[in-house]
């Protein structure tokens, strides 16, 4: 791939899209300052930057949704002063968004051709389903999809949905496909597939802009990297210069070590113990799991391996079909989440916006919500008590918010995640379950979250961390459990930590050197 990248790199082709000196501010906030870049045929550009660095503003300008205050976009030598949505589409720029925009009540062909349906003509001008299928089938083959055009989108995995989105981009003859955090919700194996698709797009002369927090994938796929910091161009990296450390340095302007020194603390007693737990989605695979005080147990596995389902059982959302739980040796029966919260078992859910925070409620009310009776006198809520708790948590977690009365919606992803953490840390956790704790969070906030997790573990909290991010699993865990098809495929201790071992267990094979199972 490296040779490939050199031959089709940006030096070989003149750029057809030139962004020059773009600036955009929202009131006093400068979202983008004097930013320039070029895009040539068939090059893969990784764009990196922390949240708030100006990536989304740049994308909105490219999509014609937002007009820059200054600067020009030049397409094929023609400068545009006002770059509209129509101009963007005319230039062949297509987006694959982080939150997929598919209609899951329709089939694949209908989604790819939405708004541009094939018709039969005539008086009724009905939908021509056969023509739709015939038009979409070759596109699906190109993106390496193994499903038919008439497959309902509801039955597809997230990775397959992304293929549909890319097929949609191809169907409009895109010259530039912009992938916004395409791998953040992908399991390991499917990420490879996506990277293959990117390589294929590249071969057929389509440029790709690839935005991600997963630097590992940029290392693998990008021809060059453009880094943004505080709205400015922080630097370029050519293919040869792309390394993890170099990217991190550009993004945050300093060196940063993700995994801080792990102390060799003696591991504590078993806090939460599961025996023969069978979840509704994987009834045939009983799970035994012990979680000890003061450890961070990483729970790895492919998406759909049953990790979130297990977490839901531990938090009292779903009832297990069988098996038993115990907390510090005492039998634990969870009828509702309320029971789990009472026992100090807290969950930081995977989908922050759907399950983690109430976006329209003020930050302070989000934080007090799980423990509201403690913030009330004679069951009337005391704003003063609520604000006191929220203020303490804001200080402890460094939540960046002007006012605690503003809705959680106004916060960045990382700060919303801190609000979720705050609501639990304001109580006394004994077991904390983190489900994909840093998904979609910028690298600075990530490090803070790891620090907080480590701090909790040192206080003796038992931590279960579900993660599909390899760096995270290996960097932050004391011990790793890998799930495969609903069951625990094996445990890894420190010396055995490697991406390879995790992957092998995740796909149901044996580990390499030690023969543990």
């Amino acid at each position: 791939m490296a040779a490939d990248a050199e031959s089709a790199g940006h030096r070989a082709e003149p750029p057809w899209l030139v962004l020059a000196n773009l600036s955009k501010s929202y009131g006093p906030v400068n979202a983008l300052i004097d930013f320039s870049m070029t895009v040539a045929r068939g090059e893969v550009i990784g764009i990196i930057g922390e949240n708030g660095a100006g990536k989304s503003t740049l994308m909105k300008i490219l999509g014609g949704v937002v007009a820059p205050d200054a600067g020009t976009l030049t397409v094929d030598g023609t400068p545009h002063s006002g770059f509209t949505v129509a101009d963007s589409m005319g230039a062949g720029i297509a987006f694959v968004h982080q939150e997929l925009n598919l209609f899951d009540n329709l089939d694949v062909a209908a989604n790819v051709l939405i708004g541009r349906e094939k018709r039969q003509g005539g008086f009724l001008n009905l939908l021509d389903r056969r023509a739709q299928r015939d038009a979409v089938a070759p596109l699906l083959r190109r993106v390496g999809a193994n499903f038919a055009p008439n497959t309902p989108v509801s039955s597809l995995s997230i990775a397959q949905c992304q293929m549909v989105e890319i097929a949609k981009a191809l169907s409009v003859d895109a010259r530039l496909v912009i992938l916004d955090e395409p791998t953040s919700s992908l399991p390991l194996a499917e990420t490879d597939k996506l990277l293959d698709v990117i390589a294929d797009l590249k071969r057929s002369g389509i440029a790709v802009i690839f935005i991600t927090h997963r630097l590992h994938e940029i290392e693998r796929a990008a021809d060059r990297v453009v880094a943004l910091r505080d709205g400015r161009l922080a630097g370029h990296l050519s293919r040869a210069e792309i390394t993890h450390d170099a990217m991190v340095k550009l993004m945050i302007g300093r060196d940063l070590k993700l995994d801080e020194a792990r102390s060799n603390r003696p591991v504590g007693d078993i806090v939460l113990s599961a025996r023969g737990i069978r979840t509704p989605s994987r009834p045939a695979a009983p799970v035994d799991l012990d979680l000890r005080a003061g450890e961070i147990l990483g729970l790895a596995g492919l998406v759909g391996a049953g990790r979130t389902e297990l977490a839901r059982v531990f938090f009292g959302i779903d009832k297990p079909l069988g098996g038993s739980l115990s907390l510090r040796g005492q039998p634990l029966r969870l009828k509702t989440t309320t029971d789990a919260v009472k026992q100090g078992i807290f969950l930081v859910p995977e989908d922050r916006k759907l399950n983690g925070v109430l976006l329209d409620l003020p930050i302070s009310e989000n934080i007090s919500l799980p423990n509201l009776p403690a913030h009330a006198r004679r069951s009337l809520v005391s704003r003063a008590l609520e604000n006191r708790t929220a203020e303490t948590q804001r200080k402890n977690l460094a939540i960046k918010a002007d006012r605690l009365a503003t809705p959680a919606r106004s916060l960045s992803g990382g700060n919303q995640q801190k609000v979720v953490l705050a609501k639990w840390l304001a109580m006394t956790p004994s077991v904390m379950i983190f489900d994909e704790p840093t998904r979609g969070i910028d690298i600075g906030a990530k490090a803070e979250i790891y620090r907080l997790m480590r701090g909790l573990a040192e206080q003796g909290v038992a931590i279960l961390m579900i993660s599909s991010d390899m760096e995270e699993v290996i960097g932050a865990s004391d011990r790793i459990a890998v799930m495969h098809e609903g069951a625990i495929a094996g445990y890894l201790d420190r010396p055995d930590f490697s991406e390879e071992n995790v992957l092998l267990l995740a796909v149901g094979k044996q580990m390499n050197h030690t023969a543990a199972a």
């Binding site: 009131g27 906030v29 979202a31 329209d360 809520v381």
Partner: protein
């Protein structure tokens, strides 16, 4: 009182001034007193409805429940010789039971609130009509219950006691909704039930309580309506009253998606609706146009409110985060 409530209050005053100018009888004490009575009656059921709407649900059986509770109450008191305080307790128990059934069907069996309460609407109306063999339930000549009358249809210094009852309920429910832990849970569940559950709230219980409170208030309203009409035709008593209640809540700033609204708003919504009814009567508009006027005003009101939001957003853009 928030800005939305203030806007509604201004609208009520402006409409009042217009009507009073066109027909000074609008301001006669007896007219105001009668309107206040209707505000009290409809307000009781609308406050109940609004508690359900806060959770993102809806309660369509209110009108039929008013008919069912009404005929049972009058029959028990007038014909069966049940002491009225006992009948009152029985009716509140019945309301609790109906609310409990609705809440359980919605939370445990995951049925949609619209469907559950629509079936309630049909079932309770049917039972009410069957119970009286489609006849009219009423008090006999010479039957008199002074204390009950005083509580329900009595007036002090021209202030109808139904209005006073509504105010008392409104104050209690204001505290419950806007100041209590339970009220906060109602808003949280209405805004995002899943997130509330992930915060350790027993969302099912909160929703069940909302329907129970709604039906209890409906039962109280039913007794007030029954005493007000004094004879009850089960085929027509309470017809469409659920829609009045929903309309009042929507006018008062409630979102049918849940999680938004205030008690002050719903009470003002009821006041505006009754003012419109009164307007139709006083301005000589054919009473057959009653519904059309009400529907038109609600539509215009909601549209203006919505567009006003857009206009504000356009000219006062929020600062980018």
């Amino acid at each position: 009182m928030n800005k939305k409530d203030l806007g509604l209050l201004i609208l009520i005053v402006v409409v009042g001034i217009v009507v009073a100018t066109l027909n000074p009888r609008f301001l006669l004490p007896i007219n105001i007193s009668n309107t206040a009575n209707l505000v009290g009656l409809f307000g009781l059921s609308a406050i109940g409805q609004s508690i359900v709407i806060i959770t993102g649900g809806i309660e369509l059986s209110v009108g039929s429940a008013i008919a069912l509770v009404g005929v049972l109450f009058v029959d028990f008191v007038a014909n069966e010789g049940v002491p009225w305080p006992v009948a009152l307790v029985l009716m509140i128990a019945l309301g609790t039971l109906l609310g409990l059934i609705h809440g359980l069907l919605i939370t445990k069996l995951k049925l949609q609130p619209f469907i559950v309460t629509l079936c309630g609407l049909l079932i309770y109306r049917g039972i009410a009509r069957f119970y009286t063999q489609d006849g009219t339930a009423g008090f006999g000549f010479g039957q008199n219950f002074p204390a009950l009358n005083w509580l329900t249809v009595g007036r002090s210094h021209g202030v109808p006691h139904s209005f006073v009852a509504m105010l008392i309920v409104a104050i209690i429910m204001w505290v419950v909704l806007h100041r209590s832990v339970f009220g906060r849970y109602l808003f949280a569940v209405g805004k995002n039930e899943e997130a509330a559950r992930y915060s350790g709230i027993r969302t099912g219980l909160v929703i069940i309580w909302a329907y129970v409170i709604c039906q209890i208030l409906t039962a109280i309203a039913a007794i007030y309506f029954a005493m007000y009409t004094s004879s009850i035709t089960p085929a027509s008593q309470g017809n469409f009253y659920e829609l009045y209640a929903i309309a009042a809540a929507v006018l008062g700033g409630f979102s049918l998606r849940g999680g938004e609204g205030s008690i002050v708003g719903v009470v003002l919504g009821v006041v505006l609706l009754q003012e419109l009814q009164n307007l139709v009567n006083l301005l000589g508009i054919p009473s057959s146009l009653n519904f059309a006027v009400m529907g038109g005003v609600i539509l215009i009101g909601i549209t203006v409110d919505q567009q006003w939001g857009n206009v504000r957003a356009k000219f006062l853009p929020r600062k980018a985060a």
